[in-house]
């Protein structure tokens, strides 16, 4: 921008200065007003596109995870007393524009104690890797990523995990073990649903 622009002709000044400034400062004020108009106009253009775009992109922030759902897994008599078994959670999955029937949503660990079954989410509460059984009988669970280890009852044993394995509610339906499948937030000490 140059500073040697001639001042606007006096006849046009009153039109471009609707505020009606004093006579002497008309050109300067009109210039300030014009700048302001340019800035406001540009901002309006930017906002008209950026705000809808940003709102669109940010839409998932408010989304909630799928609610808990009871999913039948296998028969109670297929579990061996005290021996953890990984079972897939098979149910319908809604993913954005897709609906899929009977797909594997994830997996849980089941441990039978008499007629009761405890279930643990296989998602490591540290950073979300898939937890495995530790090597050796009764050794509990271990995460293959960052060395978190858990007791057979899901209690945190060692490693970086901030909390115990997330337990899930179970019930027996007509001889089948049903699990209340949920997901929890990762990497925090509290068990909060995602």
């Amino acid at each position: 921008m140059t500073t040697s622009d001639p001042p606007p002709p006096p006849t046009s000044a009153p039109q471009s200065s609707p505020e009606g400034e004093p006579e002497g400062s008309e050109p300067r004020t009109s210039r300030r007003t014009l700048t302001l108009a340019v800035v406001v106009g540009s901002c309006a253009i930017a906002a008209a596109t950026a705000i809808p775009a940003a709102a669109f992109v940010a839409a998932p922030i408010g989304s909630k995870g799928a609610a808990g759902r009871w999913v039948r897994t296998l028969r109670l008599d297929q579990l061996v007393e005290g021996e953890p078994k990984r079972v897939a959670i098979v149910d319908d999955r809604r993913d954005a524009w897709t609906i899929e029937r009977g797909v594997e949503l994830g997996s849980v660990w089941l441990v039978k104690h008499g007629e009761k079954v405890t279930a643990f989410s296989s998602v490591c509460p540290h950073l979300g890797c898939s937890v495995n059984v530790a090597r050796g009988a009764g050794a509990g669970f271990a995460c293959p990523c960052h060395t978190s280890a858990f007791e057979p009852d899901g209690k945190r044993k060692s490693g970086p995990a901030p909390r115990d394995l997330d337990s899930l509610a179970t019930r027996i339906e007509e001889g089948f073990v049903a699990v209340d499948f949920r997901r929890f937030r990762i990497g925090i000490a509290e068990k909060v649903e995602a």
Binding site: E104, S107, H146, P160, A194
Partner: protein, 599 residues
Amino acid sequence: MSILSRLGDFIDERTGHRKLLAHALEEPIRGGARWAYVFGSALLGSFLVQAVTGVALMTSYAPSDKTAWASVHYITFTQSGGWLLRGLHHFGAQAMVIVLAGHLLQVALFGAYKKPREVNWWLGLGLLGLVLGFALTGYLLPWDQKGYWATRVATNIAGTVPIVGDATQKLMQGGAEYGSLTLTRFYALHVAVLPALLVLLMTAHVALFRKHGVTPSARADLTRVELFFPKQLLKDVVAVLAVVAVVFVMAVREHGAPLDAPADPSSDYPARPEWYFLALFQLLKYFHGPLEIVGTVVLPVVLGAYLFALPLLDKKPGTALRPRLGPLVPLALIAAGAAGLTLQAQHQDANDAGFQKERVKADERASVANRIALDGVPPDGPLAMMKRHPDLRGPELFEKHCASCHMLGVYGVDKDRTAPVLDGWGTEKWVLDMLHEPDGDTRFGRSIYKGEMPSVDTPLPGAPPTWKPMSTDDKNAVAAFLASLGDKPGQPLPANAVLRRDPAKVALGKDIVATRCTTCHLFEGKGDDSDQGLAPELGGWGSVAWIRAQIANPATKATYREHALDADRKGHMPRFDAELRPDDLDLLATWLHTATRRP
């Protein structure tokens, strides 16, 4: 006047390109051209490689959870030259990270971040962040196990940031869970947002560099001034060429870039990031419980803050290294720490038998997935493809439903076994062993059928004097015939088929089975014992249909008889038609047929 120079004049008159070119090439370099200055150009060169290969890859890539893996598989294994292009992009990305580290260290050592170049140092840090962003987003795009699990860890790390973590994570993932929107978002970042920002910052970076010029080393002879062209430009071209050559050689040597099995959220996978993130990965192991955030957020932020503050910490004039050692000590510690942590991570994995075993399992799955996808991936995606392929679904089902009683190959545990070992079941050798010693430990020895079938060549105690052992010829004939029942018509015989290559043996065997075995067994629905016995149907024995019938319900007379599931036969094989879907039964039977008879 030559036609070329006249053309040049014509264009110059209209565009002024000569002045622009001269401005670009005649940049004075105080202290003269140096190899130390090649890093920036090498980065620009490798970025161009990424841009060209990346745009080319875009023409075949389809970002959705059903198509991403399949399209990358197509690029890698089917489209001609695709493997090379992907290899260049894969190794080019790693080259960029390495050259970037070199650039940062060179700038730091030469003191090129000092007044008045602070802003350019910050622009450089922004570019560093963008390159790491490219690496992170690009890793997910093939939607294979490796990228999927490593990126899940990364987005979960974002989720551990206090207050804004949850929102950030959902923003990145496009929701609370991984899905199609995660992929489209990462794709948009990788091919549009990050490139646009990179070009913007890079333009500013180069413009500011031109404004301030190079920062010569403190010992340089400043009276010597060379122009950018030709000496420095030649050095730069050599450097870019070297980078491209290394990338090319790596891509050819490794035959492109690896592709793991399709992302499977219900699987277990030993996730590891790319090697240049291993230091950060290793760091996560050291901060336990409530301190977790130190490894995930605090230390990386402190590191970034230090790099940002470096020009403010080091304000004394002069670029000699010695007086600047103080502010540079943390940088040396960071570099040494990163190297140490990377080595430590690799060392731990190399010595972790459990990890190695998981890795082998994952690699096997990847190679089978890559093999079967050569026939094309169905529209419902690679996971559905794998669930429908006997070679992948079969072992999965066997491990889940059969391996608690049976054993086959690596599946099942011998000490818990209560049913026959299935390796070799259906072969001639297996029939011969069965005829000789039905109660052998790997056969009926541990099952409830122990003692039900007599040996044909060893008399039971108290056998009548008229008892005669079956002749070797007859046994061979029976083995030839029974093993032939499992052969698929029109298919070549397996290598372990010996006896049944002789049609006379097979015919004799059929005769013996139909007359002598039917004392106890059924053969094609007929038997002498008026359905009182337990011995199974031998017609079609060992075929896919027989196996399928036996798994679905072993008490239909197609295999064993109605009594097989009686309460007093507790411990007999249960029926699975309630818990296995028909297509799973087909897949399991098909796989078992090949897996048991494998030589």
